[in-house]
Structure formats: C-alpha cells, structure tokens
Amino acid sequence: MKKKPLHPDSEKSLTADIFVFILFITGASPHSTTAIINLKNICDKYLKGRYKYQVVDVYQQPTIAKDEQLVALPLLIKKAPLPERRCIGDLSDTRKVLQMLGIYAES
C-alpha cells in the first residue's frame, strides 16, 4: 500500500539532495549495533548512493555528549538536507525513521 508523500515537494528533495547523518552510539551495546545495522539497511533501501553517515562512539569522546545535548542513545541526527532532525532509539521503527527523513513510507 502506497502512502501519500508527507511533503508535496519531498519528491524533488529526494532526487536532489544528499543525506548527511551522524549516528551517536555507545560502544558495542546491543542498541548501538542494532542502530547501525538498521541505518545501513534503510539508507541502502531508500537512499541508495545519496547518503553519507558518520558513526560517533560517545564513550571515546565524552565531551561531545555535553555539546550535542545527548541524553538518550543511540541518537541519529540528520544534518542535511535541512531542517535538522533527531531521532533516538535503535531505528527499528522504520516507518518513523522514514517520516523523519521525509520519505514516504512503504509498509
């Protein structure tokens, strides 16, 4: 079942922009590993070739936690295209992740 696009011009942005993500994780915790796998899957499926992402292990850079206002982890920040959006969790709720990305979801 197809859903209507969430934004009328999301089709356009889909084709034009490159998605930039930062994923904050904490070492090799179960949530962290799940999050990495889920992100990779989603990107490969919906944004093939149009994405860049960086994985940051907060344990390695504890000061970043204060600067980025990190509380709940894992945290995914979409830096581009604007607006910047954040989502927490292991990204297993694909529909919500797509909503955040501005991609209409398919069940």
Binding site: T26, V71, L75, S92, K96, V97
Partner: protein, 571 residues
C-alpha cells in the same frame, strides 16, 4: 537474637556527610547518607533547587568535596544568576574546578523515538562531569523532566533505577530533586528508586502568609528528627531551624543589668535582670508595657549599650514622642547611634522573613539589648504554634549571642492564666506582668513578677505609676479591705496619717494627766510633811515645857532648900 544483631550493627553505623545546610545536620544527626542518593521533593517554589545547590556549594567550599550539578530545568547561566542572590558564586567555583554544571535539555518535539534506547548519553555526561572535578557530590535537579521529554516510561524507569544504582556504586552522595505529586511524594514515584533518605520541603500558606517547612520523611539506617521544621531562605542559602533539637548549651552570664526602674530592680533581688536573659513584659491594653521597655532601653543607652528596637505597632517617631511624655528622651540615643528602630508591619511578610530580618539586623548592629514590641501582633501572621516556634528560635538566637531580649505581649483577658502570652512564658527567664486593678471606679496598674529564674524576687504586687518623670513602683496598701491602689491607696495613706496624728495627740494628753496626777500627789505629800512637822513641833513643845518646868521646879526647890538652910543658921 535480634538484640545481638543490633549491638553488632552499631559498630558500623551509616556514614554521613555534612550537608552544610545550617540546622539540617542536627536533625539528621550528622548529615546526608554518604555515597547514597537522597530525594528532595516538594511543590513548585519549595526551595528544592536551592537545597541541592546549597549542598553542592557547601560541599565544595567547606568540606573539600567537589560537586556536579546536572540541571534538567535551568541553564547554567540561569542557575548562576538565580543563586547569586544567595551568596553562591557558581562561576568562581566552576573556574576553580570545584563545581561542574551541565544542563541537560530534552525537548520532546525535537526528538522522535524509533525503537529501543537507553540513557547512556546521560551516564556518559555524568561520568565525564564527575571525572572532571573529582566530584563526591552530585545533584540531579528535577530528573523527572526526562519524563516530559521521553515517552517510553518503561525504558525511563529501568534507566533511572540503573542510574541510581550506578551512583551508589561509584559512591557519589547524590541529591535528586522531584516535584511533589498528587498524593504521592513525587510525580513519577521516584521514591520507589531512591529510598535511602527522603526529605520533603513544604511551602504552606496560612492566613495569606507562607511558611516554609522541611521534614525528613525517611532516613534508612539512621535516627532523625521527624518533625516539620521551619526553614528560611536568606543570603546564606537555606537554614533549617530545628527547634526541638537545638542544644541548650548557651553560655550564661551572671552579670546583672538594671531595668531602669530602681524599684523594679529592687524587686528583682536588688540588681535587675541577668545579662543575656529574656524578659517578657505582658499586660492588658494600656498598662504601660512599652513604657517599661522604653525605660529599660533608656537605661541601657545611658550605659552606652547598643539597643535594637523591633516595633510592630508604632512607628519610631510615635514611640519617641510618646516616651517624651514620661520624661524619656529616646531621640538623643537615636542621634548618638545607640538606639536603632526597626519598624515593620507584622503582615509585611511571614514569620520566616521576620526572623531573617531580625537575624540580619542583629548581626549588622550587634546590640546588647533587643526589644520586640509587641510579640502578640505577630499572631496576625501565623498561628499560635508558629509564633511560639518563632519566638523560641529568636530567643535561642539571642541567647547564643548573649543579647538581652525584652518582649512585650498583650494579654487579651485580664485574668492571668498559666497558659498565656503566646505560650512563651516557659521560654523566657523573667516574666513581668502588669495587671489592671479595678476598684472604686478607678483603673490602676499592679505590677507583678510572675517569674524570674535564678534570682530572689519579690512576691509583692506593686502599684505601677507612670509620672511625668518616668516610672515608679509604689507599695500597694494591703489592709482589712483588701489590696488598695490609686486614690483608695492615697486616702488610706491619708487616713493612716490622721490616725497617727490622733494617736500622738492622745499620747500627749495622757502624759499631761500623769503629770498633773504626779503634781497633785506631790503637793499632798508636801502637806502631809507639813502636818507631820507641826505635830512633831507640838510634841517637842510639851517636852521643852516639861523640861522648862522641871528646870524651874528644880531651881525653886534648890532655892527653897537654900532658904531653909539660911533660916536655920540664923536661929
């Protein structure tokens, strides 16, 4: 078995860390549980954040225990500004690496939840903060705010449990603040996780005036005061005044100070009050309570002692004017800087603030004598019990500083009962009461000393007279007609004078009579003497006559004999 266990555990008592919050350590017998979390809950504006910041700041400054403040509400700058008014310089402490402040901000609309997560971010930040300053103390200011930002209750609760356990493990003494819920201590039931020590702050409004109170709800493994203790927030942060646990260890003085009324001093064993004692002057309306204290103030100022006058009824000018009418020039002392008035309406603020104000003024001015006129007016700001506690705290403070305190209180009923005067009579060292004595269509004042600890004092009722030159005490007349005062006393005195006059007259009359009697007797004695003399003369005359006769007869006989002889010769 149980007993054995108990005696065994006394050896390893719960270790505590001083909170640095004045008075709290006394209630909790040493402070907050070391290395354990303490929950501080209360409604909005109860002073939770202040409590926590006070704990952290005092730890950093006084006990060499650096601290971390994780604020979920205010940003660091806001927090700095808010507590700056209380004398906490967070900026400086942060620079000195004694305190680390981190503002944790969770905005719900910015965050989407897409599955399982944990609060490792918070853990890492906390760990980092603790490592940075080597913190021994941690404050989590309203961690419940997380519930507003994150929706998954199940995860949050599990994570909070993990957080508190972790804090316990690393041995950080933690304060967790939480908003009071409806019927529960906290909105999110945090007391479930933090069960070592729970402190409840309360902010109650009675008669439109608010009073802050603190209660230790729970303190696992330790005895603690269970009462509600009033506390106040002033420049030094929170200070709890644990009335019932204050130790009675104040130094006392044997020095005496004059009350300014010589007759009253005389009633008090001749020397006046003890220095540093507390004196209650009570009486019905218009009995001259203020005049008594003003006289004492005047006397103290004349001795070059500083006085502080808290007036709750009259303005300073009014008091000065009124006292001039009894010959007291208080203005002189005000000008000389020996007397300071602090006049406020009792309803201006709650009892707490009054106490704060008084503490401040006393500290600033360092007086020898403090007057509160009258304490009964404070009743408008609180219930009786509160006023009593207030006075107890004030008295304690004065005593600890060796300041003599004098309080006036209005008696509403003319009958003096044991339970009166805001129940402070048991607190004060000396209690003077002025009572109306109503007789013969006159109202006069009788002064009693109800009590005066540690000195001989008169049991007499003295009539209290206010003259243009000041106050004096006159002996009342106690006679067959009862206690006489005022003009009745004067007339009785007059009557006495007449009586003595009459008695004197009677005496002199008697003396005269005796004199006369003596004179009569004396004259009688003289007459009898005369008579005796005449009788004796009479008797003597007979003798002489007899002698004379005898003589003459003898002569005649001799002549006769001679004649006879001559005749014979011639023959």
């Amino acid at each position: 078995m149980n007993l054995k266990k108990n005696t065994k555990t006394t050896g390893e008592l719960l270790r505590k860390t001083p909170s640095g919050i004045q008075g709290l350590d006394e209630i909790t017998e040493g402070g907050l549980p070391l290395g354990r979390p303490t929950l501080v809950c209360g409604a909005a504006g109860a002073g939770k954040t202040l409590f926590g910041v006070g704990f952290i700041v005092h730890g950093a400054m006084d006990y060499n225990e650096p601290g971390v403040i994780i604020s979920f509400e205010e940003r660091a700058e806001e927090l700095e500004t808010n507590v700056a008014s209380l004398g906490f310089d967070l900026k400086k402490l942060q620079k000195e690496k004694k305190i680390f402040i981190d503002h944790v901000h969770v905005q719900r609309n910015e965050i989407e939840e897409t599955g399982e997560y944990d609060l490792d971010g918070l853990f890492i930040r906390l760990q980092h903060a603790i490592d940075t300053v080597g913190a021994k103390r941690v404050m989590l200011d309203t961690i419940e705010n997380l519930f507003g930002g994150l929706t998954n209750d199940g995860i949050l609760r599990a994570e909070l449990r993990r957080l508190f356990n972790w804090l316990k493990q690393i041995g950080a003494t933690t304060i967790i603040t939480a908003e009071k819920g409806d019927g529960t201590l906290t909105r999110q039931g945090l007391e479930e996780y933090v069960s070592d020590c729970v402190i409840l702050l309360d902010h109650r409004v009675e008669n439109q005036i608010s009073t802050r109170r603190l209660r230790v709800v729970k303190y696992r493994g330790s005895i603690h005061g269970t009462n509600e203790y009033p506390f106040l927030i002033d420049e030094n942060g929170i200070s709890v005044l644990p009335v019932t646990s204050l130790r009675l260890e104040n130094k006392v003085s044997t020095q005496r100070v004059s009350s300014g009324i010589p007759e009253l001093d005389e009633m008090l064993g001749g020397k006046g009050f003890y220095k540093g004692s507390s004196i209650l002057v009570s009486g019905t309306a218009g009995t001259g309570k203020t005049s008594i204290v003003a006289t004492t103030v005047n006397a103290a100022c004349n001795r070059n002692e500083r006085c502080l006058f808290f007036a709750f009824e009259e303005s300073p000018q009014q008091i000065i004017r009124n006292m001039r009418s009894i010959g007291l020039d208080l203005q002189k002392h005000v000008d000389a800087g020996l007397l300071v008035f602090s006049a406020t309406r009792p309803t201006v603020y709650g009892l707490e603030m009054h106490l704060v104000n008084m503490h401040k003024k006393i500290q600033e001015y360092n007086p020898k004598l403090v007057i509160v006129d009258p304490i009964s007016n404070l009743l408008t700001t609180g219930i009786l019990g509160d006023v009593k506690l207030f006075l107890m705290r004030l008295l304690d403070y004065l005593q600890s500083k060796g300041i003599t305190g004098m309080f006036t209180a209005l008696n509403l009923n003319s009958v003096i009962t044991e339970k009166s005067d805001e129940g402070v009579s048991s607190l004060v060292d000396a209690w003077i009461t002025v009572k109306d004595i109503e007789t013969n269509g006159e109202r006069n004042k009788g002064l009693y000393i109800m009590k005066s600890r540690g000195m001989k004092h008169s049991n007499r009722i003295r009539e209290f007279v206010i003259t243009d030159e000041g106050l004096t005490l006159v002996d009342v007349f106690i006679g067959p007609e009862g206690v006489l005062t005022g003009s009745a006393r004067e007339s009785q005195e007059l009557l006495n004078e007449t009586g003595s006059e009459l008695r004197g007259y009677a005496l002199s009359r008697n003396n005269k009579a005796i004199d006369r009697k003596r004179k009569v007797l004396e004259s009688k004695i003289a007459a009898l003497n005369e008579e005796f003399d005449s009788v004796r003369d009479d008797l003597n005359r007979v003798y002489i006559e007899e002698d004379l006769k005898k003589d003459v007869l003898e002569k005649a006989r001799k002549k006769l004999i001679q004649k006879r002889k001559d005749n014979g010769k011639n023959k």
